[in-house]
């Protein structure tokens, strides 16, 4: 211990747990055989080959999920025959059995089908604006938040801010799936997933953020490239529209599609993500009352417009809104997007009239779209937080 006698903290040289150390000293580690490097390499090669054969279905799925190009071609070149060999030797069975045992059967399945829109191609007669659905703490608006990595931080903020209103409840935490989108159903098939998840929830609102991984060649059913070509746009529109109609098909759920905000890589944002945003926005506009487009560009732009790492709060203080990668968000950035989504929800639903309504109201009702807000009722809000907190 150098020149320090009786240092009270941080790793003195002596034993830490008297009983255990004594035991170790008494027994000691049994001698181990050392190995020549050649044997080490042999063991490692066997381990990797056996491990690859036993995990072949998972490796194939991972290979398919690589970015379209040489890397994916090489990966699938090896993964496909590996999977075939594994299957014919029944070596994929232990993995399937283990997946079944832990309740994750189907982890390695690849579903490439993507639904088409069910909306008529031609616009019908103009529809009168439907009245706003009203919600109250006793009958809160139920919300399901999902999406890719851009959904995580704003989604968490949305859940927190939503719960604080007392009139919004959330189904579990943010259901985030990193590195996914509509371009690559073999990586993650969003329409199939949401078609399975949403019906049992019967949510009033689905808040969704996807698209930031979609600036690439489309694979799966109807797959086409390159990005920005007319064929690409047609197919992407089909996928976006199909997903929108699938989510809102029950006639109850309203989809809030949160757009992609500016990124530090301005050129990429201007040429790709704004283009994707425009496609989604125009598809949302075809579905009034069912799909609401939430524009995040203004929310996270600097005063002069464009990307900003830091923004000013109304009180003049500055706050970092974007993560170091120039793509994702800090909590403050997430809060700003969440506030924009909440504002859109307030425009779509009546989340305020319960504050002035008689306290006996227990079910959601429909009120005229012009209903006004009122002053805050602290007692009701506190009660509502508890009720919708879970």
């Amino acid at each position: 211990m150098d020149n320090e006698p009786n240092v009270p903290v941080l790793l003195p040289e002596g034993p830490t747990n008297t009983r255990r150390r004594r035991a170790t000293k008494e027994v000691g580690d049994p001698p181990r055989r050392t190995t020549p490097v050649g044997h080490v390499l042999l063991a490692m090669i066997i381990a990797l080959v056996v491990g690859a054969l036993l995990n072949a279905p998972g490796i194939r799925k991972t290979a398919l999920g690589q970015a379209v190009g040489l890397k994916r071609d090489v990966a699938t070149f090896f993964a496909d025959p590996l999977d075939d060999v594994s299957h014919s030797l029944y070596l994929d069975r232990p993995r399937a059995a283990l997946q079944w045992a832990i309740g994750r059967s189907g982890d390695d399945d690849v579903d490439l089908t993507l639904p088409s829109p069910t909306l008529p191609a031609t616009a019908g007669p103009p529809v009168a604006t439907p009245p706003k659905r009203a919600f109250s703490p006793a009958s809160p608006l139920s919300m399901y938040v999902t999406g890719d990595s851009l959904a995580t931080t704003p989604g968490e903020s949305l859940i927190n801010l939503g719960l604080a209103t007392g009139v919004i409840s959330a189904f579990g935490p943010v259901d985030g799936h990193v590195g996914t989108g509509l371009a690559r159903p073999e990586v993650f098939n969003w329409p199939a997933y949401l078609a399975e998840v949403i019906p049992p929830l019967n949510a009033d609102v689905v808040a969704l953020t996807i698209g930031s991984n979609d600036d690439q060649t489309l694979t799966g059913e109807g797959g086409v490239g390159p990005l920005l070509s007319p064929e690409w746009e047609t197919e992407y529109r089909r996928r976006v529209g199909g997903l929108m109609d699938s989510v809102t098909g029950n006639g109850k759920t309203v989809l809030f599609w949160v757009g992609i905000p500016p990124m530090r890589n301005t050129e990429r944002y201007e040429t790709r993500y704004r283009y994707l945003n425009d496609i989604v926005k125009s598809e949302a506009e075809k579905r009034p009352g069912k799909v609401v487009w939430v524009d995040t560009e203004a929310v996270l732009s600097s005063f002069g417009g464009g990307y900003a790492d830091y923004l000013e709060n109304p009180d003049g203080s500055i706050v970092q809104v974007r993560a170091g990668d120039g793509i994702h968000f800090t909590r403050a950035g997430g809060d700003r997007i969440a506030e924009a989504v909440l504002a859109a929800m307030r425009r779509t639903f009546d989340l305020e009239s319960w504050k002035t309504a008689p306290s006996t109201t227990t079910t959601s009702t429909t009120v005229p779209a012009t209903s006004t807000t009122s002053t805050t009722n602290t007692t009701s809000t506190t009660k509502a937080k508890r009720q919708s907190g879970k």
């Binding site: 320090e4 006698p5 240092v7 009270p8 903290v9 941080l10 790793l11 830490t16 747990n17 035991a23 170790t24 000691g28 580690d29 049994p30 181990r32 055989r33 050392t34 190995t35 020549p36 490097v37 044997h39 080490v40 390499l41 042999l42 063991a43 490692m44 066997i46 381990a47 990797l48 080959v49 056996v50 491990g51 036993l54 995990n55 998972g58 991972t62 993995r95 283990l98 832990i102 982890d107 968490e156 859940i159 927190n160 719960l163 935490p173 943010v174 590195g179 790492d309 830091y310 003049g316 203080s317 500055i318 706050v319 970092q320 974007r322 170091g324 990668d325 508890r386 907190g389 879970k390």
Partner: protein
């Protein structure tokens, strides 16, 4: 490049045999290892390779001049320059945003409004680790406990890929002499290395990732959405997650270095079996705690200048240790909590000694109680460490202790989560000799049998782990 990926497996299958082939030709081996390490590090962002190169050359110059300086004054001046340069680099990348934001907002409250054009700085992976290692090099040279080596040796030491991104924090005196040793390719301690790699993989890929995705991330993001039980389990789960994540990484790092013929110091020693906070710091991130002890606590005066100075030094060391983890006040709070309890323990010990009282008898009941109390304190501190703000920490605590939420449903507390927590804690209670026996038995197997067993363990790890590999927690530190 992350250890638990196919990319790393391919990288290592090339590096391992080439490294052993070149080992007899030292210079070629060093150049090869330097290139491999820079490739490994540059795989994230090649621009930061320049940062390591600058750090290497700069610190080598400082160390050489310190070694050659003929007066104490010159040595001290050069050391100050080296410390300022290293900490300046660290401060720019790690704390610049934090300082500018806090300074601007403080000035704003005082009525001075400025709008600096600031751009978020990208944090280079592992900068805290290699900066601390570089500091060890120049400080040890200044103290005369280590003689600076050649530039190539120092470059290999600083960038050696098994430890560059998340430690363990290796001292130059531990590593650089190994560069001169003769490494015998007929005697590789592969059984220990394989055990460490497989156990590290399991801890990281299965336990840490499962706990993060199944409960920890969700609860710490929105505590108000969860029951008291979910919050309680999430706090314990985080304690296990961070141990398995960081401990798993260092297990792998030590195992990989062993296969290359190098020994790293131990970094974790069953930390959740600790019977006091002092004991905890002898077992948790051991290479950081001894770094803080030798380069901060002892130079501050240690416990040599009276009890109040000792308390001050303890608090300073722990608070700075907290800040080392990141630029946030929550890390400062985490360090302060540990510092406070270390002071309390020190106070109790000195009071007992002053009263001439004997040490308490070491009974099983006393040990169990001490472990439970220590684990509770550690978990309490983890709440601040994991929470992204004091608001979240406050919500966690409020939710935990408010009886209104005690009986709420807890869907996130699943059998899988509880089993993962149990596995992460019980692993620390497995006697060392049991691991030793298992390793000895494994070492007696033929290479083919070893390969088959390792392949089967890859099946379990790959199948049970969540899809994708989350980044290691300590990479951002």
């Amino acid at each position: 490049m992350l250890f638990p990926t196919v990319t790393f497996a391919i990288f290592f299958m090339i590096v391992l045999p080439v490294s052993w082939m070149l080992m007899p030709r030292r210079r070629r081996w060093k150049l090869f290892m330097l290139a491999a390490s820079y490739f490994f590090y540059g795989y994230w962002n090649w621009r930061f390779c320049f940062l390591i190169a600058v750090s290497t050359i700069g610190n080598q110059i400082f160390a050489t001049f310190i070694h050659r300086a003929d007066t104490e004054r010159k040595k001290r001046l050069l050391l100050t320059g080296a410390v300022v340069a290293n900490l300046g680099l660290l401060a720019y990348f790690k704390y610049f945003d934090f300082f500018v934001t806090n300074a601007t907002n403080t000035l704003d409250k005082l009525g001075v409004h400025i709008s600096p054009e600031i751009v978020a700085v990208t944090l280079p992976v592992g900068i805290s680790f290699f900066t601390f290692q570089a500091l060890s090099y120049v400080i040890d040279t200044y103290r005369g406990t280590f003689e600076p080596g050649r530039l190539i040796d120092f470059a290999v030491f600083l960038s050696f890929f098994p430890h560059i991104v998340a430690g363990p924090i290796v001292r130059p005196a531990e590593f650089m002499p190994q560069l001169k040793e003769r490494h015998d390719p007929r005697h590789v301690d592969s059984s220990r290395a394989f055990f460490l790699i497989v156990i590290g993989l399991f801890k990281k890929v299965v336990i840490a990732n499962l706990l993060a995705t199944q409960i920890v991330d969700a609860v710490f993001a929105s505590p108000n959405q969860h029951s008291s039980l979910e919050v309680l389990v999430a706090v314990v789960a985080y304690a296990v997650q961070i141990y398995c994540d960081f401990g798993g990484y260092t297990d792998m790092a030590i195992g990989i270095a062993l296969l290359l013929g190098f020994r790293f110091p131990q970094n974790f020693d069953s930390p959740y079996t600790s019977t006091s906070i002092q004991d905890f710091w002898r077992r948790w991130h051991m290479t950081l705690s001894r770094w803080l002890r030798d380069y901060l606590y002892v130079p501050l005066g240690g416990n040599r200048s009276g009890k109040w100075r000792t308390y001050r030094n303890l608090m300073l060391t722990m608070v700075i240790g907290g800040l080392w983890h990141g630029a946030a006040w929550t890390f400062v709070a985490w360090g302060a909590i540990h510092g406070t309890f270390l002071c309390v323990e020190h106070w109790r010990r000195t009071r007992r000694q002053a009263g001439g009282l004997p040490d308490p008898t070491d009974t099983r009941a006393r040990r169990v109680r001490a472990r439970l109390i220590t684990f509770t304190i550690v978990c309490f501190a983890w709440i601040f460490f994991r929470s992204e703000s004091f608001t979240i920490a406050e919500q966690m605590l409020a939710r935990l202790f408010n009886p209104a939420y005690w009986l709420d449903p807890s869907p996130l507390v699943t059998v899988g989560v509880l089993l993962a927590i149990a596995a992460g804690i019980l692993e620390q209670y497995v006697p060392r000799r049991t691991w030793g026996r298992l390793m000895a038995k494994f070492s007696n197997l033929a290479p083919v049998a070893q390969g088959l067993m390792l392949g089967a363990s890859l099946l379990v790890i790959n199948t049970m782990g969540p899809r994708g590999v989350a980044p290691f927690i300590y990479f951002r530190f």
